[in-house]
Amino acid sequence: MRKQFKATVSELAAKDDKLVLILGDISVYLFNDFKQKHPDRFYNMGICENTLISAAAGLSSQGFFPFVHTIAPFITERSFEQIKDDMCYNQFGGNIVSIGGSFDYAWDGATHHCYTDLGILRMLPGMEVLQPGSAKEVDILVRKLYRNGKPTYFRLSDNPHAIDVPCEFGKGVVLKEGRSGLTVMTAGPLLGNVLEACRDLDVNLVYFHAIKPIDKDVILKFKDSEILVVHDAWGLYEAVCSIGNLSASYHGIPQDQFCTWYGKVADVRKMIGLDPASIREIVSHKIRSGPQAAK
């Protein structure tokens, strides 16, 4: 996904002299070509995430379309107030592109884990929150949104899913429909595990690229079913429940506890029940138990 981000932004920058790239000392070598071609629009500004956001807001105020790129917890959790005040409240848009969401940097421990970003950013007025799950989705969504003047968060991952999913901004995708009365909803790279778990199970499966705006129509389509949100972050479940009067439950991040295990993303996912086998077991149990089991 990161390579696709580089390819897409580089192509756009060649045609758009208002596109500016601000790095927080991450992905620097990846963007060497960009730096050579557009030295006046490439800034590896430093490890100073608050200022990266504020400066992007300032650039935006003067008609530029900035991309700020660095690691997820630092640019979202650390800089939440800059995003709230300088971008959202002031209505100075800009593109925030993170890498290392959820447990992508599992081995680095809890300081580098980031599963609140989608949840906290979706609460900010005017903010768009995207979680593309593949390179194709990155390309389509970045092209579509980067110039719309809104504060937009793109959460990339180095662990994309390998599924070719239709991608249209703001539209959820129904990947399968079943008869059990259970609908599994997910977003982002975790789709790989969820689809593997549910491929031959009798459930509906809905996938989202966008946490905000959430596709209300596709949720309403399944409003009479039991909904199980399976996700490796906060935010999607809350977005789904914002529809109201749903019977929905959540499986993913443990309640009120840090995930302090090292290892790889697959290790942490397995530990918290987000590997394909664990997801399959939970979904199968809900199918067997009927609608009340999901509550």
């Binding site: 100073c48 200022t51 650039l59």
Partner: protein
């Protein structure tokens, strides 16, 4: 030297609006009057066309001095001073921290401290990329400089050689009971800024210092007094930090202001 008559009138406006509205950070507003007024004397701006695309930018990063900025903008012709007297009221455009979408001339909505320089860095960078002569002026408080984001943004400004960014540092000793930053000019110099110290209540000296060109971000460390112009305010800063005068106090403060010679 006597107080600039426009700056004296702006202080009268501040007292009147505070009295009428029941709100006000009067001492801190009095602290910034000459700095804000002098900035607009050297800036390219048009009160009749606040969105003029060749204008210079003024950011009041210490947004709690908004009443001071409103009164400066009113005297410059951005809007009628009568509108400011709704200060802080429900449905007023003139809040106790400024909203750029409501008040003509306000460039950045501020309030939480430590944001202005960072946004100014982005604006100054935009003007550099565009090869525009436009400049950015950002007024910060010395209490605000407790925030790490101030120094983070200063480091970026210096690293990017943003010579079109000028920081006005309101050195009014507001943090004596907390974390007072001694010798601020030395700190900004150490960070690589072109730094000068100036009397923050001498509008002429401020304007002269603001006009000077540099090859780096420029910082004016302005020696100021909270409540400058009224003896009662200067001597009772904490008591008056966030209060509005009674009718009797209002008369007393106006009398002190009118008697003031520097």
């Amino acid at each position: 030297m006597t107080m600039d008559p426009v700056c004296r009138q702006i202080r009268v406006d501040i007292l009147d609006a505070s009295r009428e509205s029941g709100h006000g950070h009067i001492p801190t507003c009095f602290s910034i009057v000459e700095m804000a007024y002098a900035s607009y004397q050297v800036m390219r701006h048009d009160p009749k066309n606040p969105a003029w695309n060749e204008r210079d930018i003024f950011i009041l990063s210490k947004g709690h001095a908004s009443l001071g900025l409103y009164c400066v903008l009113a005297r410059l012709g951005y809007f009628a001073i009568e509108r400011v007297k709704t200060f802080g009221a429900f449905m007023s455009d003139f809040g106790c921290h400024p909203d750029r979408l409501k008040v003509p001339g306000v460039e950045v909505s501020t309030g939480s401290l430590g944001h202005g320089i960072g946004v100014g860095v982005g604006m100054a960078l935009a003007f550099k990329i565009s090869k525009s002569p436009r400049r950015v002026f950002c007024l910060i408080g010395d209490g605000e400089a407790n925030e790490g984001s101030v120094w983070e943004a200063v480091m970026v400004a210096v690293d990017r050689k943003l010579s079109n960014l000028t920081i006005l540092y309101d050195s009014n000793a507001s943090q004596m009971r907390c974390m007072h930053l001694a010798a601020p000019a030395g700190r900004f110099k150490a960070f690589g800024c072109d730094t000068v110290e100036v009397d923050g209540h001498d509008a002429g000296a401020l304007a002269k210092a603001l006009k000077a060109a540099s090859d780096r971000p420029r910082v004016l460390v302005a020696d100021t007094k909270k409540g400058f112009g009224c003896k009662t305010l200067v001597e009772n800063v904490y008591e008056w930090h966030r209060r509005s005068p009674t009718e009797q106090e209002h008369k007393m403060l106006l009398a002190e202001l009118n008697a003031q010679t520097i």
